[in-house]
């Protein structure tokens, strides 16, 4: 879903923003992004229609069971409305740096939020209600509620991660539903033998979110080093809110400041810089990780078998670092001004990122992976580190994708 949101913004940037008008790939990029966005919406609506068909085929009233698809659409709408906007930056006016009055910027941001809400959640919400027999305008209050709730919760970051996890779960379920239906023309869990109760049949479509036991390897992956790393990262984020010197700050700040000190004193500077950069991007990292975790859990639940544990653990750990892996590490000009080329900086940055990824992966490899898979994956990371002089020239997001995808294949092979 976050990919769909980013697609929406990329589409807008490509369509309106002055500074990308000269890009020769602009037309193709617009086509690609628009196709992605429309395909996502079309698939979602088709899935809801298919869900309704299944209900009717078994004598169940779509109106009575509109909750799940409606909820999914509202979560998408909530996600669209939750997008944060940079203060003072217009989303729609052509000239990015034009000095616009504050009231005009507020209207611009409101318009952007409404558009994102409708673009992401409008189609599935309306589809769910129409198929259930309600008029199309019945969806408007629902969308408005999602929008207002998102704006109200925006200052509080934590619910966003939970929402991301839930959305990821629903995406995983939906994706598995599509795959199963398209490939086998099966009827899904409605036809699981032995289920007599209609309510149980339908609610089997959405496993209860609380109390659902995650597959054991994933549970361990959450409990072990990733959680302490996340806890440390959250402490550092708290420390980032402080401006008072430690001797005058409250006692609760001292652990956070100690954490900063620990981070800054890592002797390997590229690794320390990558870790510090992750803290900066922690909201994205946690959101993507929550989404992927939910996706894996949703896939697992619908398909009735365990999602492949080792590739899943590898991917969850790597996606946690995605905001760092997919971007060039910003280095200060006071450093780069003395370099005859930025190549050396790029090589060291890439190595720092790989070291950081390996550091959080190593405990998982030693604890959870069979030796063969662990050796393959650590060898893959070592190869990436060694080949950094060549790989540093790749677009970072492309390189990160290859790193994670091949790693997942190696985890499955091991």
């Amino acid at each position: 879903m976050s990919g769909a949101i980013r697609s929406l913004f990329l589409l807008h940037r490509l369509g309106w923003r002055e500074r990308v008008r000269a890009d020769p790939w602009r037309g193709f990029s617009i086509f690609l992004v628009a196709t992605l966005l429309l395909s996502f919406q079309a698939l979602t609506v088709w899935s809801i229609a298919r869900y309704d068909q299944l209900l009717k085929a078994h004598g169940l009233s779509p109106a009575a069971y509109a909750g799940p698809p409606l909820g999914y659409g509202l979560l998408l709408a909530f996600g669209g409305a939750s997008i944060r906007y940079t203060e003072g930056v217009s989303r729609f006016w052509i000239l990015e740096t034009a000095p616009l009055p504050r009231w005009l910027l507020r209207i611009d941001q409101l318009f952007s939020g409404l558009l994102a809400t409708l673009a992401l959640g409008g189609a599935p919400v309306l589809a769910a209600l129409i198929l259930a027999g309600d008029p199309w305008w019945a969806g408007l209050p629902w969308l408005a509620a999602a929008f207002l709730l998102a704006k109200g919760l925006q200052p509080y970051a934590l619910p966003g991660y939970l929402i991301q996890g839930v959305l990821g779960y629903l995406m995983g379920w939906l994706s598995a539903f599509l795959i199963r239906t398209l490939v086998t023309e099966g009827w899904g869990p409605l036809l699981y033998p032995g289920l007599e109760d209609a309510d149980r049949k339908v609610w089997a479509l959405l496993a209860p979110l609380s109390g659902y036991p995650l597959p054991a390897p994933l549970q361990r992956a959450l409990a072990l080093p990733l959680l302490p790393a996340v806890a440390l990262a959250l402490l550092l984020v708290l420390a980032a809110l402080l401006v008072e010197p430690p001797e005058s700050g409250p006692a609760a700040t001292r652990p956070a400041l100690a954490a900063w000190r620990w981070l800054a004193r890592i002797p390997r500077a590229p690794l320390a810089a990558a870790a510090a950069f992750l803290i900066e991007q922690l909201d994205q990292a946690l959101a993507r990780t929550a989404s992927l975790l939910g996706l894996v859990a949703g896939l697992d639940r619908y398909l009735g078998w365990q999602a492949p544990a080792h590739p899943s653990i590898w991917a969850i750990n790597a996606v946690f670092w995605w905001p760092v892996l997919a971007r060039r590490l910003p280095l200060p000009e006071v450093l780069t001004a003395h370099l005859d080329s930025k190549r050396e900086a790029a090589i060291r940055s890439l190595r720092g990122k790989v070291e950081a990824l390996a550091l959080t992966f190593l405990p998982l490899a030693l604890w959870l992976f069979p030796w063969k898979a662990a050796a393959l994956l650590l060898g893959w990371l070592a190869l990436w580190w060694w080949a950094a002089p060549v790989l540093a020239g790749l677009p970072p997001a492309f390189g990160a994708f290859v790193l994670i995808a091949v790693g997942g294949a190696l985890a499955a092979a091991g």
Binding site: A239, W260, R265, F277, E280, P332, E333, A337, R348
Partner: protein, 241 residues
Amino acid sequence: MADPPVLEAVDLTRLYPDGTGVRGVRLRVYAGEIAALVGPNGAGKTTLLEALAGRPPQPGRVRLLGTGHDRRRAFLKRLAYLPEARALPPFLAGRTAARLAEDLWQQPGLYPRFLQEAARLGLAEADLDRPARVLSQGTREKLALALVFSREARLYLLDEPEAHLDPIVRNVLENRLDELRAAGKAVLFATHDVYLAARLADRILLVKNGRVRPAGTKDPEAILAVLTGGKEDERDPGPSA
């Protein structure tokens, strides 16, 4: 025979698409000398320092101890440059930046020198550990200065090094520049502060409307009168003495 200059620029020109910039600059800076570029906002001081630092390279126009921009690695090896945009990224701590500098600049021993420079500039240990985001503007400036002063170089190009510094740290800065002069380094710094330039520099060069010429005086009032004067000075500046 006079010692050759550490830095020499001949007919250095760097113009922006709208025609602003610097043109036909000729200047020399010698070892053991501090020269100051003084001029109003938009005069071209930053543009000139960037051009001297090889951003972008201008082969044949600038020589640092006989090495031009065409031999970029050798040129930069002898240079310490404090650019106008020198803020650390919000996530980066000064200590990590110094270690990165030691690694990237391939100057062993830079990190201990950085710690010494940081202590002289009044930076606390905690300031070196915390990300730039939570530091004051003055502290961030001090970190950038400490990084540049810890670099071993023959020429120091500094763009408004006194910016955002309190009077105590300014005093430290002036002492540090004096030490560089005594050690035989060449220093060229840009400033708005005519009084600082008069106090510290051996020579003052006026920058106005993209042209550079010697001030011919260190009297701040006289310099201010020239800078605020209305008549355009169209003389082609000769090389600085």
